[in-house]
Symmetry: C2
Subunit: 418 residues, 2 copies
């Protein structure tokens, strides 16, 4: 009856040291988001395979862990393909289940509805260092609020969480899907070309303007369009702060509605005026974000001490309606929970208020009276919030004490039988 | 692109009101168990199908949600049976994964190792009221402690959790697998008959001694054995408290080791001497617990206000060794998390320290200055721990206010543009 000792490929066992930080981060996130009026909700880990395959999940739909039909429904012998033997799958994100949840319960939920979801998702990606096939996502979403109050709330709430966790230096980059489209239209690209053009401009900070230009050329776009497109960035790159949006308006003219620019400016100035931690929020016309379902402002958080994004999101006003038949404005912000944990582990983060820890060791020959005495002492200390463990003394007491110290029990008290 | 709105069969969406209680209970459980020296750990939801089918899971092995192999490994066309297309499954309990975890990491964990697991498990049971196919389990286990200090710690910790959650009146019933076996042996049953005899005596409180007797007769056991067996219970039923164990020792003579009886007595007297809440702990020779892997003391918690068990566990000294090849004493106690939540919902439990809640409503025509002012006011209140939501005023303000009150926003402040 040999057992496989390792976890399944690409998933991991979480050790006590990491769990202590995870538990702390989870409870901090829930506490802070609650003060911003977000309500915790939860959906099942298993989702209808039809919903997971509804083309809202992008590339993730290729990574579904599929669940076998059960009982009479499973007719393996007649199966022509996977879909004949599968009726569910593990969710690969929290957005598709949120849409289903909202479609199912909208009548019982306020408008706007502010949802907080913390839960595992599963993606069968090729295993690679630091990326796992099961990981926690942490999303806040506001459904039913068309104005940019929603974006402001998301950003203040999320930066509030990061600040409470001790991250003070980070940058929120913000752009708007409609500015991206206006830039592409102004440059002469055709709508069906937009997405692939955006994928290339997204790489600007990695490959530089020359790199962008040559990738656009390799992709076979017209030279004139490429020139017009690249000129937008060259012309505005020196402009700092909110002025960059004005420069963009000037260049793009009728291609960009003034309202879009004003909306972004309101978000940025309001967040800057209210924020406390040492973070910044900047307009970045090269920010793209992967998912094509975004319809308005999009944003991403970068930590100065860490290359890459630790969170992001955007407005997706059309997605919920596609599921429910009823148009519902929606914005979301997802914190990169696993990256945050990784950073805190690397920084040797100590969970604040870690209790005094004490081990009470009982003589092997203890009678019931001594045993009771020790557990009463344990109770007294536990009521004071101390972490207390009660153990028998071992033969090799030196080793036992070393091990206890390693486990964080600074104080060791021994109780001997008479 | 029609979406299925309901959750998958037998699983449920969790609404904000229930989630608030769940979040509170989870954080309370983690906090209290931590003072008892338990460390949170986590295993993946997906487990090797071989481990789930290793005969440690009893009836649950029939209820596995199986996960389809992926990519080249999946050869649907050659499949002879389910096992050819499946390589993983959703865990149906936290005990099998704990064994694997301990086998994988024993060298990095202290001895004894005190583990706390809170996590979802999945069982494809026939859907029925109040039972779901995804539910949370909450287990504490002590691995590597052969003495009954382990049982005492489990009981004090679990009753500490229940007390902190406001449950004061409950009963821990305790028995020992070795007493059950001694009773069966003394009565003349053969070892292969034990388990089915135990299943019948387990029903004593439902069907009475006459019912037990007639079920044993229907099962075809020898009349003499049945008489001897039933006489044990009749002879001891009047004896109260710890004396019942002594009566049992007297009757069973050499069939029962004195050590077993003494061990139970130590557990009971120690827990009684230390406990604070208004609960009791009683020896109950009819307590069986389903799983045959138990080897020593077994126990179950009954809430006076609620028929049926809200938690239980036992010693299972042989299971880990069967997986790891190395004998490891082990005890576990599982709280019926979902039942606890159900009870708290029925009792209209109010999460303590629920914040003051306030909605700040902004005039539709607000400029950036007013918007900033409102978000600054929100920030001030959030820093005081208030729950604050910021919204645009709606046309139908009366309806908006009613809805906000329904969502718990007692205070509503309006900000008008000049």
């Amino acid at each position: 009856m040999a057992m496989k000792k390792k976890p399944v490929t690409g998933m991991k066992d979480i050790m006590p040291e990491e769990m202590e930080i995870r538990d702390y981060v989870i409870s901090t996130i829930k506490k802070v988001y609650k003060t911003y009026g977000f309500s915790s909700i939860e959906t099942p880990s298993v989702e209808h395979i039809e919903n997971l395959s509804s083309k809202q999940g992008g590339e993730n739909e290729k990574l579904i862990f599929k669940i076998l039909k059960r009982g009479e429904k499973l007719r393996l012998e007649d199966a022509k393909g996977e879909m004949d033997v599968v009726d569910g799958g593990l969710r690969y994100d929290l957005t598709v289940p949120l849409s289903r949840y909202y479609a199912n319960h909208a009548n019982d939920l306020g408008t706007p509805f502010k949802a907080l979801q913390m839960g595992n998702v599963w993606r069968a990606e090729r295993p690679q260092r630091g990326r796992f096939r099961q990981f926690m996502q942490c999303d806040i979403d506001i459904l039913g609020e068309p104005s940019n109050l929603a974006e402001i709330e998301l950003m203040l709430a999320t930066s509030g969480v990061l600040g409470t966790l001790g991250f003070k230096k980070f940058t929120i980059r913000i752009n708007d899907r409609r500015i991206l489209k206006a830039m592409a239209a102004y440059s002469g690209f055709r709508p069906e070309e937009y997405d692939s053009v955006f994928i290339i401009i997204d790489k600007l900070d990695k490959i530089g303007m020359d790199g962008v230009q040559s990738e656009l050329e390799s992709a076979g776009y017209e030279e004139e369009n490429i020139q017009r497109f690249c000129n937008i960035f060259t012309a505005t790159q020196e402009v700092e702060g909110i002025g960059k949006i004005d420069s963009m308006v000037e260049i793009l003219g009728d291609f960009l509605e003034q309202e879009v620019a004003d909306g972004l400016k309101t978000i940025i100035t309001t967040v800057l005026s209210v924020k406390e931690a040492d973070f910044s929020i900047v307009f970045d016309p090269t920010l793209v974000r992967g998912m094509s379902y975004y319809t308005g402002p999009i944003y991403e958080i970068r930590m100065d001490e860490f290359g890459g994004s630790v969170g992001g999101g955007g407005r997706y006003d059309e997605m919920i309606g596609r599921f429910t038949g009823q148009q519902t404005p929606a914005v979301g912000f997802s914190i990169g929970f696993e990256r945050i944990i990784l950073l805190m582990l690397e920084n040797n983060f100590q969970v604040p208020g870690s209790e005094e820890s004490v081990a009470l060791l009982i003589d092997k020959k203890a009678d019931d009276d001594l045993t009771q005495k020790v557990f009463k002492e344990a109770k007294r200390r536990r009521e004071q919030g101390q972490r207390v463990t009660v153990m028998k003394m071992k033969k090799n007491k030196k080793f036992q004490k070393e091990q206890l110290k390693k486990d964080g029990y600074q104080e060791i008290v021994e109780f001997f039988a008479d």
